[in-house]
């Protein structure tokens, strides 16, 4: 019912949710029910790839929430994604039990290898699924809350904020590369066996993970939609467009920003947590600052401030990446990605969906467009 209320004037959203829910049913079904010889069969690799795209779409959605609607260009969302992934990875590591190479009942292999004698305190509790899943949301959420609390209260805005979120990501990357941190150093966490008692590699588990990713994306969309459609969402947009003016009108800008930043980080963390069991590894390279910037371009391509567009952009760019990084075009992929950054910012500032909205709005001047196209904000500079 709430869903219906949310989607009354969101035609794109209806389409988006229908497609994602359709995928959630159809892809696992085609994978499991069709024999491998059938032309309709979806292979394990393809499903894993699509599952990865869905996680990236959720990540892009979370960034769109802060960037598209609140004007916070975070270059640290890759870090929240990776933190969620690490929380999930720690749970999966504890599930290996005695099946590791060193068959130690408690310590993961890399700790035995480093000659550690007992589990560090921050690994306590990760053998329980409920605790790990809580941490998937709590760790990125808490970091975002603390970071946002300080940064927004001090009115660090614009490019400055982007730079310090990038510095945060960089610091986390350096930290996770250290063996002494107890997160597996540069090898990261891998070689997972079970999730909730089901083998990670099994087709049914993979199909279920895919379906869960799709559902998470749907849920993420609904949450984001609920936020932006509410009164709170209106305040966020006004902060984006005229921060000082909003403050002078009596709104506590830093509270709104901290709230949306935290929600967004939690969504990114969930995306990372779903990503890890499907890819089978998490390592510190996920923290690379370049990764976080790449997420921004997904959102920019799809259309910032459109939610569904961010997800679309994530899928399109990543589909292009998988297509072009294999085969003879591989050396040119970075040229294409670079050109994408330049061309989209200059000629397609509203992204694909935003431009389409404009086009429809012009074709049907009397009709209200489905969703309010996010006008390109004029940052107060």
């Amino acid at each position: 019912m709430i869903t219906r209320a949310l989607l009354t004037d969101d035609r794109t959203g209806k389409w988006f949710l229908a497609i994602v829910l359709g995928l959630a049913v159809v892809v696992p079904l085609l994978h499991l029910a069709m024999p491998p010889s059938s032309p309709f069969h979806i292979s394990t690799a393809t499903m894993a790839l699509l599952g990865k795209y869905l996680c990236f779409a959720l990540l892009a959605l979370s960034l769109d929430l802060v960037w598209g609607y609140c004007g916070i260009l975070s270059l640290g969302h890759g870090a929240f994604f990776a933190l969620g992934g690490y929380a999930m990875g720690m749970y999966l590591m504890r599930q290996i039990g005695t099946r590791g190479v060193y068959a130690h009942p408690v310590l993961p292999d890399f700790m035995v290898f480093l000659n550690w004698k007992e589990l560090p305190w921050y690994w306590y509790g990760f053998e329980n699924a409920w605790f790990a899943f809580l941490m998937v949301m709590a760790v990125p959420g808490l970091l975002a809350f603390v970071f946002g609390w300080f940064a927004f209260r001090s009115r660090v805005t614009g490019v400055y904020l982007s730079i310090i979120t990038q510095a945060l990501t960089y610091a986390l990357m350096l930290a996770f590369f250290r063996n002494d941190m107890g997160f597996g150093g540069n090898n990261g966490l891998t070689d997972f066996k079970d999730i909730l008692g089901f083998p990670v590699q099994a087709n049914t588990t993979r199909a279920a993970l895919f379906a869960v990713s799709a559902l998470a994306l749907v849920l993420g969309y609904l949450v984001a939609r609920a936020i932006v459609a509410s009164r709170l969402g209106k305040v966020l947009v006004s902060i984006r467009d005229a921060e000082s003016r909003t403050r002078f009108l009596g709104y506590r800008v830093e509270h709104y920003k901290t709230f949306v930043f935290t929600v967004s980080a939690i969504m990114a963390g969930i995306a990372g947590a779903l990503y890890v069991p499907q890819v089978g590894i998490i390592n510190p390279s996920e923290f690379t600052p370049a990764n976080s910037i790449e997420v921004v371009i997904w959102v920019a391509v799809g259309g910032r401030g459109t939610l569904a567009g961010a997800a679309l952009g994530a899928v399109l760019v990543n589909f292009a990446k998988t297509t072009f990084t294999t085969g003879f075009l591989a050396p040119y992929w970075l040229f294409m990605l670079g050109a994408l950054f330049v061309l989209v910012t200059i000629w397609l500032p509203k992204g694909i969906l935003g431009t389409l909205y404009d086009f429809w709005a012009r074709r049907r001047p009397n009709e209200e467009p489905d969703a309010k196209p996010a006008s390109v904000p004029q940052p107060a500079e």
Binding site: L73, F147, F150, A151, R153, S154, R155, V156, T157, G158, V159, Y160, S162, I163, I164, Q166, A167, L168, Y170, A171, L174, A175, F177, R178, S244, P289, I293, V296, I297, A300, P331, Y332, L334, F335, L337, G338, A339, L340, F341, V342, T345, I346, P349, V376, Q378, P379, A380, E381
Partner: protein, 538 residues
């Protein structure tokens, strides 16, 4: 090769032996006969005693004998208890008279060696080359004696000190003497005290380790003198270590300064963080590489001057590309700083990949001119020339830029646009042109940074990436629109980084620093030296 060197040593010490024999009161020809008699017994203990005797004898060919022993060319005629050696030319000579033996006995056996004997041989060679006419050799010999601390070398050492005229060689010899005397349990207390004083004055790590080797049963005054010497040396070393770290900090700070200063002016004037700035640095480094390649192939003799060509060229290349980027891309993104950040990031990807396809992904070798290689020592500081030149270079760029901003029309316009773009525009300043030139200037300086960095870092397509985040931090830390802020920011970040390193390790130190900067930005969101006025808080 090493044989050749050894031969030289032998010859040189022969000559030296000849030269100094008359002055030496301790020279005792009968030692030679006694030594040879000991060696003829061919037991390890006797051989060692024999080596000492030969070294003491001062015979002109004593070095040749010891040398022969080392190479198993020292031969014994066991029947007659006579010793011969085969010289480098292969002729067999009588060890006593050094004459070529006309009719050498047939059954000669080489003198046996073990590690103890080899040690004695090395010490003896060291002692013998203390008289070498080549001062470098003498210093090496003194250092060898200092390491071996062989009491047998003492008489030769004392003679050498008496004969030495060059001050620093004399100091080395005295140090060696101190090391040996200090370790010699039967030396007089006065002499050992004197040795402690000498070692204390030297104040090196070697001296500390020699002083530490004092046995616990030594006389109390000696022990006290030693421990006070050790603590004084260590204090001094710690101080020098601190100074060395500060120097490293200054050096890193100067690198950050040249990498960041171009970024600072573009950021100041245009409010744009240029993500492709690191790639401008990289292009400067590759320009250096190309110029050097050209010099290598067509004018190898002028190689030392290649940097003089590379510096202006790198400025022009990077600056030209900067102007092109500004006119082609950034111009279209006015008032949208976050989008500019993305677009320049895209440009940086393109430039990186372009360089990777042109020059390959691996490191390219950039040579260092003669005058920039090597190091100098100032007290306990080791300062490499290339680092010193980079510090000077950074200083020159800084001062040059400061003057340009202060006294040129472009500088005036740039400052005006930084302070208030619309007002400047209303006063008739063509802000678009100022933007393009500023961007070109900033990029050109990045190119200069590339020339400097090519001397101390790997020239690879990723060169820029490794500096870019640090450069951003310098700029936001220092504040916008003020070059002094960048200077202070660069130096304090460089210094903090290097001073943290000994305690926290390189990586953890860096993490601590990043977190500290993030907290600092909370306190002063516009950096250390923020511009005051209404224009900032739009």
């Amino acid at each position: 090769m090493s044989r050749l060197i050894r031969l030289c040593i032998v010859l040189a010490s022969l000559v030296a032996g000849l030269a100094i024999t008359p002055q030496r009161a301790v020279a005792a020809p009968e030692d030679l006969a006694a030594g040879l008699a000991l060696i003829a017994k061919d037991s390890f203990n006797d051989t060692i005693a024999g080596i000492d005797a030969i070294a003491r004898s001062g015979a002109p060919h004593s070095a040749a004998l010891v040398e022969a022993l080392q190479d198993r060319r020292l031969l014994i005629d066991t029947a007659n208890q006579k010793v011969f050696y085969r010289d480098a030319a292969g002729a067999v000579r009588d060890a006593q008279s050094n004459d070529v033996a006309a009719d050498p006995p047939a059954n000669l056996t080489a003198v046996r060696l073990n590690n103890r004997v080899r040690g004695a041989v090395n010490a003896a060679i060291g002692a013998l080359s203390l008289m070498n006419p080549d001062p470098v050799r003498r210093i090496q010999a003194a250092q060898a004696v200092m390491k071996s601390r062989d009491p047998a070398a003492l008489p030769v050492l004392e003679a050498a000190i008496a004969a030495e005229k060059i001050a620093n060689v004399r100091m080395e010899l005295q140090l060696a003497w101190a090391a040996v005397t200090f370790n010699k349990a039967d030396a007089s207390l006065d002499k050992r005290q004197e040795a402690v004083a000498l070692l204390r004055e030297a104040g090196t790590r070697d001296a500390v380790s020699i002083l530490r080797s004092l046995p616990a049963d030594a006389a109390t005054p000696l022990r006290e003198a030693t421990s006070s010497a050790i603590s004084s040396i260590e204090q001094r070393l710690a101080l020098w270590g601190y100074a060395q770290n500060i120097w490293y900090g200054v050096s890193l700070g100067s690198v950050l300064l040249i990498a960041a200063i171009g970024l600072a002016i573009t950021f100041g004037v245009m409010g744009v963080i240029n993500m492709a700035h690191g790639e401008m640095v990289m292009l400067g480094a590759y320009t250096t590489f190309v110029v050097q390649e050209f010099f290598r192939t067509s004018a190898p003799g002028l190689f030392d001057y290649s940097l003089a060509v590379a510096i202006p060229l790198a400025f022009l290349v990077a600056g030209g590309i900067g102007v092109a980027i500004e006119r082609g891309v950034i111009r279209h993104l006015y008032g949208r700083p976050l989008e500019t950040l993305l677009a320049t990031w895209g440009i940086s990807l393109i430039l990186q990949q372009a360089v990777r396809t042109t020059f390959g992904p691996t490191n390219r070798e950039v040579g260092t001119p003669q005058f920039m290689s090597g190091a100098m020592e100032v007290g306990g500081l080791v300062i490499t020339w290339n680092r010193l030149y980079i510090v000077i270079f950074a200083g020159l760029i800084f001062v040059g830029l400061l003057l340009a901003l202060r006294y040129t029309p472009l500088g005036l316009h740039m400052r005006a646009v930084t302070q208030n773009r619309r007002m400047a525009s209303s006063m008739g300043i063509r802000t678009g042109r100022v933007d393009a030139l500023t961007f070109g200037l900033g990029s050109g300086i990045a190119g200069l940074a590339g020339v400097a960095l090519s001397q101390i870092d790997n020239v690879s397509p990723n060169l820029g990436q490794s500096y870019i985040i640090d450069s951003f931090l310098v700029v936001v830390f220092g504040g916008v629109g003020n070059l002094w802020g960048t200077l202070v920011g660069a130096l304090s970040i460089g210094m903090a980084n290097k001073l943290l390193e000994p305690y926290a390790g390189a990586v953890l130190g860096k993490i601590v620093l990043l977190v500290a900067i993030i907290f600092f930005i909370q306190k002063r969101p516009r950096g250390l030296f923020a511009l005051k006025g209404r224009a900032v808080e739009a």
